[in-house]
Symmetry: C2
Subunit: 203 residues, 2 copies
């Protein structure tokens, strides 16, 4: 099958089909007005079938938020696993994160508004996402130390400082408020400072 | 007169008394429900007297926002003018800014909510405030270059990068959302990276 053809709905795992339907309804009606019954109706299946996959409306909404956030963090894994100078990988990671957030937030504002309301209630999912980001950056920094590029005592602490220093470019509220006005060169200006700091052993 | 005694209202310049009254009313009723008539009534004076100082309700609200923001930036000037290592002054400046924002936002949430609504409409005032912050940081960085501490080509660009890298600690939305959870040691961790970057000539 050529790569560009989306598999027909029926070929997708049921869990994904339920999430697809929930996402469409959330986008259209918002989280308060989207019930498990609505999702079941859209898929022409029983409530019971939904509840086999998600134990509650909250669990279903959490899963939507989780999938949304995983779509941001999963492609970043490439910068974690690939070879090469850690400084370049770290900059690439931040640029890719910022780009993914801009796309998610600015290209699909309806879904973002729905997601944002869901995420407010799904703190565990958001915390898990942030922990994933910290873990990815920590791994890159540890590689940088091994390769003799960075002088860092506590890589996890340094990773948190890197995420703090770049929050302007990946925090949903700030990305939305800026309307994507921050350019890659703004990000690179901050990353130059941050990377020089990691090289100098400031963290 | 002992220093601790506030001068009686009548001793304050009229402009300040009008702003005091407007601030009290904004805090209590919000910007939409606070009119020039309300302010005049609270001060037992005529509209005309208010309009002698502020040409419109918008001008009065802008002045409230401006005073609010000046109360944040004016004390930071001490870090700009004092002698000593630029790195230490820059860290002190960021810590003081973060502290002032925390105090303004968390200690007086009613006024902050009113201010925030006013500031949304007073973009020029906010831009002016941000320009003041950039100017202060630029001056400290220029001193650091003169003193041989920092290697920086474009001090204004470096100053903007420093403000971006610390936005987590001074952006109203993030300060409010964190509820002041970010500590001075979180700020210092970021500033270590930033200052090492300025020393290494990364900006």
């Amino acid at each position: 099958m050529p790569k560009s053809i989306t598999p027909p709905d029926a070929a997708r795992p049921m869990r994904e089909r339920i999430l697809d339907a929930a996402e469409t309804l959330l986008r259209r009606h918002g989280p308060a007005k989207t019930t498990v019954s609505d999702v079941a109706r859209a898929l022409q299946m029983s409530h019971a079938n939904i509840y086999r996959h998600f134990e509650s409306k909250a669990a279903l909404q959490d899963a939507v938020a989780e999938r949304w956030l995983d779509a941001v963090s999963a492609p970043l894994e490439a910068f974690v696993t690939k070879k090469g100078p850690a400084a370049k990988r770290l900059e690439g990671w931040v640029l890719a994160l910022a780009k993914a957030k801009r796309r998610k937030i600015l290209d699909d504002p309806e879904l973002f508004a729905a997601y944002h309301a869901v995420a407010e209630a799904a703190r565990d999912v958001v915390e898990h996402h942030l922990a994933t980001l910290v873990r990815q950056v920590t791994t890159i920094i540890v590689d940088g130390v091994k390769q003799g590029e960075f002088k860092v005592k506590d890589a996890a602490q340094a990773a948190r400082a890197v995420l703090s220093a770049t929050v302007r470019f990946h925090h949903p509220h700030l990305v939305r408020a800026s309307g994507g006005a921050d350019t890659d060169s703004d990000i690179k200006a901050v990353m130059k400072l941050v990377i020089a700091g990691l090289k100098a052993g400031a963290a």
